[in-house]
Amino acid sequence: MTLLDVNDLSIRYAVDDGSAVHASDGVDFSVERGETYGLVGESGCGKTTLAKSLVHLLDDNGYIERGEVWFDTTLPQWADENGDPEQSVIDDPDKPVRADGKTNLAALSNKQIRDVRWRDIAIIPQSAMNALNPVYKVGDQIVEAILRHEPETTAEAADDRARDLLERVGIEPERADDYAHQFSGGMKQRAVIAMAMACGPDLLIADEPTTALDVIIQDRILEELETLQEEFGVSILVISHDISVMAEICDRMAVMYGGKVMEAGPKEEIFERTANPYTLGLKNSFPTITATDQELVSIPGTPPTLRDPDDGCRFRDRCPFAVEECHASHPPMYDVEAAESTGRVTETTDDRAHRSACYRIGELDRLRTDAVNESTWTDQTIESR
């Protein structure tokens, strides 16, 4: 069952000179209940912006240009006794609630979205190491989240729950009375995870959950996330530049580049039947510890700035497969399976399918073969700087 359905979401950052950075542009994806969905891409590709925008946590100059974020939840004031939206609310054209019970988070006011935050969607921020407030006890910070969303809970009950949550992620309950500086890096990360689970959210956004951590701790944290998912059935939206992390924990994923989703679909499909030049290039440039004699090939050029970009494919400047079409407009999402099995180039609106944004989706075999050759990438002349 779909938990989150992001539809044509575009996010911009206003810049002083009047232009706008198109941090995310017409993005579609959906997350099922209980699955782990990955957003992978290089820095500046818009993946973090995308995640933050779901609960309106963009920086001051960021805003949602268009698009919808349908999420399976109902604001308390719109809910009936079962927690489903009242019919009158669904019928009200001014209320962003769909007949299937989903609410368009993008249309909620600041006050309304606050009820969604943490209760429905919790975020483990990128700098989880710095996410604990140094002046409050760790336990109290968890209690704060619980009491915010469940005001009927007593302080004692919330405190018990906070200790329980800490214990679940492998921290002694009595450490709830400690301050963040008394925690090691791994413990801080776990504490934030415990905090994220405090209100039993349906979706957990983990923004680079392992980046600042040492490799052994990182390993433990990944395990922790997996355990939690099993235990609570929470959906996880993982954001990372680290393909290997994605390979390990995601069920499905989307590869982002320049604010656009380049390729999306089940993890295995993407890794094994890669269908986009960017993903192919990315794979080429990523070292792996198990391979003995690798040849890494980097993608020439640098990522675009996204400031008032033109209509062409965002990747075309660095793409060895670019053709005339690519300059005219960014390619839509094509159905990979259809292209592979039938050779037909068909756009797809199915967020769950393996999709790729490339006009040359029809020549997949050729792309894959050529992409392995280093010369394919190095011989092209790219527009410098």
């Binding site: 609960v55 946590l57 606050r114 009820d115 969604v116 935050r117 943490w118 209760r119 919790a122 975020i123 921020p125 990128q126 700098s127 989880a128 190491m129 710095n130 996410a131 604990l132 407030n133 140094p134 002046v135 409050y136 704060e144 989240a145 915010r148 969303h149 301050y179 500086h181 934030v192 905090m195």
Partner: protein
């Protein structure tokens, strides 16, 4: 939830005490190293040799230096600050009379300044770069560059001379026509303290604001502020409970510095507003070369600063749990 160990507190007290001993010694040395003898100001032309001798004796100048020093140190620690020649009274009595008045003025100003300043700094830091921030910030900088006595005269002119709303002098109504009761005393002090406090805090809060604003701005980028928002807390809660609370930490350090400025400012203000506190006698005792009073005044101000430091450190530990005094990591 004290994080201050008893031993640490004891240790700090000892250090504070030693600091005061050093200050006393400095005062002793300074007085004795005045050009000529410091009692020469007390000797007048008509005095007989016996009288001069008597003054020397009163001041213990006939004793060996170490004895003078010892007596001085013992006297000062027992609250015996000697006798003021101009006031013809024990200096301690004088201090007991005046100190509370200054502390009231100090305390109120300090409190108000350190409430308004951080609050404004909090808002400006939170909304840094906005038009509101820019205009308020530049206005406050303008204020900061004004001399406090000038502000005082301005206030006196407006509130006293032009509109006669508030008195321009004293702590109480002189020659009142009403009876002194707890209520009238309170009311009267508030009525009189209004202008001095306005004059002092009109500028005084800016210092705390200047510390608060940039730290507040830094804090807004911290992960815990983001997380607090992500938890669904209201902006107000995020700003006050999470951001401001952390930005306050350096403000506490600024408080000691602020105190020094306040002492400076209150000397002027007490004199402008005829507030009968310590600020007045600092000036007059120096002018009249009333050394016992001057000495005791400086000493008490030093005590005040030392106490303030101690308090700041204690406040600090409450503000910032990372600081854990008295225990090794």
């Amino acid at each position: 939830m004290t994080r201050i160990s008893g031993t640490y507190l004891a240790k700090r007290l000892v250090v504070s005490y030693l600091t005061l001993l050093v200050i006393m010694t400095l005062l002793f040395v300074l007085l004795r190293s005045m050009p000529g003898s410091f009692i020469s100001s007390m000797i007048t032309s008509g005095m007989t040799a016996e009288q001069i001798e008597q003054i020397r004796e009163t001041w213990g100048l006939n004793e060996p230096l170490w004895k003078q020093y010892l007596d001085f140190m013992i006297n000062y620690q027992t609250g015996n600050f000697g006798r003021s020649p101009t006031y013809n009274a024990p200096v301690a009595d004088l201090m007991i009379r005046r100190m509370p008045r200054t502390l009231i003025l100090f305390g109120a100003t300090f409190l108000i300044g350190f409430i308004i300043g951080p609050l404004v700094g909090m808002y400006l830091g939170w909304w840094r770069g906005t038009k509101k921030d820019k205009s308020i910030f530049s206005t406050s900088l303008l204020l900061y560059s004004m001399p406090s006595f000038w502000i005082s005269w301005l206030f006196i002119w407006v509130f006293n001379y032009e509109f006669n709303l508030l008195p321009s002098a004293y702590m109480f109504t002189q020659f009142p026509e009403f009876q002194w009761t707890a209520v009238t005393v309170m009311r009267d002090v508030l009525y009189h303290i209004a202008l001095p406090i306005m004059s002092l805090t009109f500028i005084g809060w800016v210092g705390a604001m200047l510390i608060m604003r940039p730290t507040m701005n830094q804090v807004t980028d911290e992960g815990y502020v983001f997380l607090a928002r992500a938890k669904g807390l209201s902006e107000r809660t995020v700003m006050i409970k999470h951001a401001a609370r952390n930005a306050l930490i350096p403000v506490a350090t600024g408080a000691v510095v602020g105190l020094a400025f306040l002492i400076d400012g209150s000397i002027i203000i007490e004199n402008v507003f005829s507030w009968p506190g310590m600020g007045q006698i600092i000036v007059s005792s120096v002018l009249e070369r009333d050394f016992p009073v001057a000495q005791a005044t400086f000493f008490l101000l030093a005590v005040l600063v030392v106490i303030m430091r101690l308090l700041t450190d204690i406040v600090y530990t409450y503000l910032d749990p990372r600081i854990k005094f008295g225990e090794s990591e």
